[in-house]
């Protein structure tokens, strides 16, 4: 079984919001209609987004770290938002595990948003239906696109390659490898939702310097110094200067 997911490397994310804007750009221009905004160029702009980048400060000065934290639907393997939907508009695709909303069935009762502990579902205030990350389902399945572009817009936009996309049920995929080898974790494990999206933790980057890296043992400039000095009586190259 396939479970498509994102793996987000918090160690690499610089909080540039490129994933947010490219997500909005792609998903507001699609066949599902616009993701509406209100007062976009005015006071209190608001609108529906599938993806948000938040920032947290961890620790106390001077030992602080700023963590940029992109947040979108985690496509839980046991999604609590799906069984509560009274109309069946909220569903999880069997073939690839993407949690989707059928915009033609949604009645906008907001109950699924109540049932999601992560707060990743946002009601589109204009169309009055629940919207959420689709993993760019219209893009990743589009055979008209070159294979390399069949990825979510956010993944393609990330300038630091902090977002990986793939099948976490395939043990050899890049995402599975990243989760396994870089201690990938899921959010709020206490609710048993088994999020498909994983996050890679911040890692301390340390440089270990050995003495022979500071002064190379085989430094060719020093090689001569190790040679025995010729005695003064030996002839010099030009018969004038001594060694």
């Amino acid at each position: 079984m396939t479970q498509l997911a994102l793996v987000i490397d918090l160690n690499v994310c610089v909080g540039c919001h490129a994933c947010v804007t490219s997500c909005k750009e792609w998903n507001t221009s699609g066949s599902a209609g616009p993701l509406s905004d209100f007062n976009p160029y005015d006071r209190d702009p608001t609108g529906a987004f599938f993806n948000r980048v938040q920032s947290f400060e961890v620790g106390e000065f001077p030992n602080t770290q700023t963590v940029h934290f992109p947040k979108s639907c985690l496509h839980c393997e046991d999604p609590p938002c799906v069984p509560v939907c009274p109309t069946g508009a909220s569903y999880k695709r069997a073939e690839d595990g993407i949690v989707l909303v059928d915009y033609d069935k949604c009645i906008g009762c907001k109950y699924c948003a109540w049932a999601c502990p992560y707060g990743v579902r946002e009601l589109d205030e204009k169309s009055q239906v629940m919207t959420k990350c689709t993993l760019c389902v219209d893009r990743i399945t589009d055979v008209a696109l070159p294979e390399a572009e069949r990825k979510p817009a956010c993944v393609l936009a990330c300038p630091t390659n902090a977002r990986l996309f793939g099948d976490i049920h395939d043990p050899d995929s890049a995402v599975s490898t990243a989760i396994r080898e870089n201690a990938g974790y899921a959010l709020m494990p206490e609710w048993g939702t088994h999020p498909a999206n994983h996050y890679l933790p911040r890692r301390r980057t340390e440089r270990h310097l050995h003495a022979d890296e500071l002064q190379r043992a085989d430094n060719p400039l020093k090689v001569d110094g190790l040679q025995p000095k010729p005695p003064k009586s030996d002839p010099a190259l030009d018969d004038v200067m001594s060694w």
């Binding site: 209190d44 609590p80 109309t87 906008g108 992560y118 009601l123």
Partner: protein
Amino acid sequence: MNPRVSVILLTTLIGAGQGLFIALYVVETGVLLDLVAAPIRPWFYFYGALLAFIVTSAGLVASVFHLGRPARAWRSATQWRTSWLSREVIVLPAFLGVVALYAAAHFLGWNGTYGSTQGSFADPTMLIGFTGTLLALALYVCTGMVYACLPFLREWATPLTVINYTLLGLASGFALAAAATLAAPPVVRLFAACALVFTALGFAGRLASLARNARLRPKSTLQTAIGIKHPRIVQTSQGFMGGSFNTREFFHGRSTKFVRAVRWFFLLGAFAVPALLLAAGVAGVGKSVVVAAFVIQYVGLLAERWYFFAQANHPQNLYYQAIA
């Protein structure tokens, strides 16, 4: 959570409507068993059922305002296998239908089987009343479970939610029955006594849930929310400045002082004051105290429901602590 007027009206109105219908069925059963001595006029059940129908329908109408796409509401009856909301959506119209049928049966005089003047449990009105009572009780369970089945909202995820929805609905329903009926004083006193009992039980249940919720420790923290193990994590930006669905739907934006005031208001308005007035009604002081009891209790229950929603602290709020 941000309390919505439509949902507050829905839950309080249908609760009272269901309780009112059960009150009618209790009287009809009591008459049959010779427990209610007072003569019941033939229009008593019809007008009672009509009022229950109107009150419950008003709740249903209010609920429509909660929907973004009301025209598609019929779809919400499809997922009864998994969704308590869907079950509520099925049981509520079914209950309304049975209430209408009950009113019609009494209007047409479908009691007194086989022409006998003495009623029996096999009367159409009794059978319809029994069905309606079962549906009313089922609707209490559905309404309560809509909230109690969400494990993340820990203030709601308790059997007390279902118990309180049932008890408070019954209390206000019987109080409404006592206030609205033109029947003889013994019937009014019966209704008032039942309302008093349910108000007392509801008070105990609500205090129990308040005590439980006061001791709740959040399961989700900022540490589990972003998966970083450090005792001090502070949000510096939620990613936008002008608000979003997440900030509007899950925060009530009132001060702790205001919320506490609402709690005192509903403890007095939904329980203490109506209990005193209902006790006076049972003692036979007069009709006006019973009417006052219902009106005050209903206003108190509106506050109670507001508090019920406002008190629920959604774990998603962890992600929306600082604008920038």
